[in-house]
């Protein structure tokens, strides 16, 4: 433990937070994208069941990335958890309702023959994919803008905004980046797991969504150049007890791009975002489905990493009281908690990845209408 200082552990947990969010965006991202595409790439009931059953056996496991993300933020960044979840209250509840629609939708949709029942669930599943995709993007947008919160001297947080305050043009642009990205990602997944007209439509959706992602992501980058970023002025101890009230922060136009000039290697993240999307489109045109899915996953990783690296060392800045912003250096758990959590992550993440790979291997192969019909447990 002596080699790992508090500072190291904080950076490691900032990285692990990134890993978890990227894990969520890649794994559950294609479930969300598939749900968004459901009403559009599948016309008949048989086709829709095929689409649903491509994610049916795996979406529950994938969603754990989100649950784990929530749990890890709670344990490693308690203040970030407290401020963001309560500050974005109604937005979070909207996400929650949308996410709750999914288990019910997947499980219950095909349990009745009724066409109206199934049509309704199909659209609810679309909502269950679209709303979280949009709002997670909007949340990242608001992290870049800063959120209107302050603390009193007992560290009780007051939030000075509301749901509609979150929906600024820039935040909505970030939301659309997220929707385009996950739609593309879902499209590449469907191209891997289906065949015939559904796969054909999924490929064309991937191309449109990929193009939209590249344009919107570029627009976002341009916008950030003129946006107020946040900067810590003066010294800040990297290994002191977590107290976000002990520093001075100023807002500065274009500051979110400062990390890229200070640490040129970080430019790899946006390059990965653009390059991955472009590669995913090229591979889709070449009907190289697996290649497109991998490229799309890289794009997802690149886009999420871009947001994180632009913010560093900030995690959630305060627009009302910039000096109370939450940063890597003053919003973490205690050193011992970070250490215990690191051990748990080192033990369990490889195990999780191992059995997840095994499960995808067992479930390999295309989903077809015949197979869906033949299996009692199909959704």
């Amino acid at each position: 433990m002596s080699y790992l200082t508090y500072e190291h552990l904080r950076v490691i947990w900032w990285l692990l937070l990134g890993v978890l969010l990227i894990g969520f965006a890649i794994a559950d991202g294609f479930d969300l994208g598939t749900a968004i595409l459901l009403p559009f790439v599948a016309k008949t009931d048989g086709e829709r069941r095929v689409v649903i059953n491509t994610v049916g056996p795996v979406w529950e496991g994938n969603q754990v990335w989100l649950i784990l993300g929530g749990g890890a933020i709670f344990a490693a960044w308690p203040l970030v958890y407290a401020v963001s979840f309560s500050g974005f209250y109604l937005a979070m509840l909207l996400v929650l309702c949308a996410l709750i629609l999914r288990p019910a939708g997947f499980k219950y949709r095909s349990k009745l023959e009724n066409t109206r029942w199934r049509e309704t669930w199909d659209w609810l599943l679309f909502v269950g994919g679209f709303i979280p995709a949009l709002i997670f993007g909007v949340a990242v947008g608001n992290a870049l803008l800063g959120a209107p919160f302050t603390f009193d001297d007992t560290m009780r947080m007051t939030y000075h905004g509301n749901l509609f305050g979150l929906l600024t043009p820039f935040a909505l642009l970030c939301g659309l980046v997220s929707v385009a990205m996950l739609t593309m990602h879902g499209g590449t997944w469907l191209a891997v797991k289906t065949e015939g007209p559904v796969a054909e439509r999924a490929r064309s959706a991937t191309l449109y969504a990929g193009l939209a992602l590249i344009v919107l992501f570029a627009l976002g980058g341009l916008w950030v150049k003129y946006l107020d970023g946040y900067q810590i002025v003066g010294a800040i101890a990297h290994d002191a007890a977590s107290n976000p009230l002990g520093k001075t922060v100023v807002r500065k136009s274009g500051q979110w791009l400062a990390n890229y000039s200070a640490q040129p290697w970080t430019i790899l993240a946006p390059i990965l975002g653009f390059g991955g999307a472009l590669l995913a489109m090229l591979a889709t045109r070449a009907q190289f489905a697996i290649g497109a899915f991998i490229a799309s996953s890289l794009a997802v990783a690149g886009v999420v990493a871009t947001a994180g690296l632009s913010l560093f060392p900030f995690i959630l800045p305060s627009s009302t009281d910039p000096s109370a912003s939450l940063t890597v250096w003053d919003a973490s758990s205690s050193r011992m908690t970070l250490f215990i959590m690191l051990i748990a992550a080192l033990v369990f993440v490889p195990i999780v990845l191992a059995y997840t790979s095994f499960i995808y291997y067992v479930l390999r192969g295309k989903v077809t209408e015949d197979k869906v019909e033949a299996d009692h447990f199909s959704y």
């Binding site: 490693a76 996410l99 709750i100 219950y108 349990k111 009745l112 999780v352 447990f377």
Partner: protein, 525 residues
């Protein structure tokens, strides 16, 4: 000052969503193990009826599981959305078991549940059996982590307050992990889940037998459920007793409130089996007392006393005064961290800091509290005595009923007479809601009995909330009630539909087996 409406609405929302979530959890816990047992019998005997039994109960398991997952996300989010100060104040400790739950348990359960349903033709028999047991292991480990978290709320060990970060931080993680309260609660809670699973299988099988359907299927299901249910029912009560013993050591006020024990009695104290607790006169009217029992259960000795409510309130007045000193020293330390006099005073009183915080209900400044305010705050430490008194007794009564029911069912199954008595089958059917009632009451006793604290002795409930407006809370609460009600209707509708369809609709082979099984000699399985 914190808005009381915010506090009460937040409590109501948490209580409702948690209790709603726990409608699905116990059945998941119990059925997952039963599925493992059914399928183990299939793999060992090779008889397809056991595979069909596994698949049919698995189908019902799936309908229930989806709702457990859906409502569980709410729980993971809700600490942050509605209890932001709590999340800041104890996230350093409380967040850890929740995160490990995701990493170790929920990932396992949620990943393999897909293979349980979709892996029947893709895996070998033993391979699929392993998957089923991994789902059961995952759901039970999940309960372990959650109860480690909840156990810490009841008995916060292994943590200390850090004035610099203004929160509780981990001091000794193994104390948190091996918290005796958490261990007893874990076994008590999962056993209650097993009872629920066993009653569910018994009730629906009994319905099939009453209808003369799926005889072989139902009798086999019942045989397993009867013995599993008996073992679980015994375990619930034994570990419930262990929890009571723990409470007498760590949560004396909760125990006294459950017993409506106003005054300290001579040891060993008597147990009030029945009576009407009166919160105005601080006495229990028309009490029927059983001598010695309470003292023996609570202390496991003849000489140790169990303190009464009034005596505990008196003791808490002193702790509140000490907490007032801790709060004053803390304010000084926040401004001047180098002040050694303040540090010394703070260290001397830090264990009572939470009691000082109780005064925030009456004065923002805390250090200027009047004796009258201290007295009011001390009486705030008494939870709702009549509610706890009654819910506890109903829960315990149900616990003993389950032991009797399963003992009889076990005897019938040993005699191969499970389908002999129609009254027994009807009884098995009508008691279906009882395990849920017992489980919900159990949580009520645990959580309401901990009031006025979220973290016992550390953080009062009314300080734990987020700074939300009443408008937002009404909106979310209304949304939850509406949304959850619709989901409940959908879930129940599908559950009933698939129960009515029965295994014969899904697996015709077991119905074919069902008919000849009737003509087999007794015990022919």
């Amino acid at each position: 000052m914190i808005d009381n409406v915010t506090v009460e609405l937040s409590r109501l929302q948490f209580g409702l969503t948690a209790m709603y979530h726990f409608l699905f959890v116990p059945l998941t816990l119990g059925l997952s193990i039963l599925l493992g047992i059914f399928e183990s019998v299939y793999v060992m005997t090779g008889r397809t009826i056991w595979r069909d039994i596994t698949k049919y109960w698995g189908l019902l398991f799936g309908i229930n599981f989806a709702m457990g997952v859906a409502t569980g996300i709410t729980m993971e989010f809700q600490f942050g959305t509605n209890w932001a100060y709590y999340s800041h104040y104890v996230g350093d400790i409380f967040g850890v078991p929740l995160a490990i739950e995701g990493l170790m348990a929920f990932f396992l359960e949620a990943s393999f549940i897909g293979l349980f349903f979709f892996g029947w033709d893709r895996l070998s028999r033993v391979g699929h059996l392993v998957v089923t047991w991994l789902v059961a292991l995952g759901s039970n480990l999940s309960a372990l982590c959650i109860l480690v978290a909840n156990g810490w709320m009841q008995h916060p060990v292994g943590a200390k307050f850090n004035p610099a970060s203004m929160r509780m931080e981990v001091a000794n993680f193994s104390d948190v992990l091996f918290n005796p309260v958490a261990q007893a609660k874990f076994v008590h809670t999962v056993s209650a889940g097993y009872v629920t699973g066993a009653v569910f299988v018994m009730a629906i099988s009994a319905w099939f037998l009453l209808k003369g359907r799926n005889i072989a299927f139902a009798k086999r299901s019942m045989t397993v459920a009867a013995s599993f249910g008996l073992a679980s029912a015994l375990s619930v009560v034994v570990l419930g007793d262990e929890s009571g013993y723990n409470a007498s050591e760590n949560q004396k006020m909760k125990l006294a409130a459950i017993e409506a024990m106003w005054q300290t009695e001579a040891a060993p104290a008597s147990f009030t089996a029945f009576g009407f607790p009166d919160t105005v006169t601080h006495s229990t009217r028309d009490a029927i007392e059983v001598p010695w029992v309470m003292g023996l259960i609570g202390t496991r000795s003849f000489s140790e006393k169990i303190p009464g409510i009034i005596n505990l309130v008196e003791a808490n007045k002193a702790r509140i005064a000490s907490g007032e000193a801790a709060y004053g020293a803390l304010e000084q330390l926040r401004k001047h961290p180098e002040d050694t006099a303040a540090r010394t005073s703070f260290n001397a009183h830090v264990d009572d800091l939470g009691y000082g915080l109780l005064l925030k209900r009456y004065t923002d400044k805390v250090t200027d509290a009047t004796p009258e305010q201290i007295s009011k705050a001390a009486w705030d430490t008494v939870p709702n005595v009549p509610a706890l008194f009654w819910t506890f007794r109903i829960m315990v009564g149900l616990g003993f009923f389950f032991i009797a029911f399963f003992a009889f069912a076990f005897w019938l199954s040993a005699k191969h007479r499970l389908d002999t008595y129609n009254w027994f089958l009807r009884l098995a059917l009508v008691i279906l809601p009882l395990p849920w009632i017992a489980a919900e009451l159990g949580w009520f006793v645990a959580e309401n009995g901990r009031q006025p604290w979220t973290i016992d002795g550390i953080l009062p409930t009314f300080l734990s909330t987020s700074s939300l407006t009443a408008g937002n809370l009404w909106l979310s609460l209304g949304g939850f009630v509406l949304f959850y009600s619709v989901l409940a209707v959908v879930e129940l509708y599908l559950m009933v539909k698939y129960i009515k369809l029965g295994p014969e609709a899904e697996f015709p082979s077991s119905t074919a087996l069902g008919a000849p099984a009737l003509s087999l000699p007794k015990g022919g399985r």
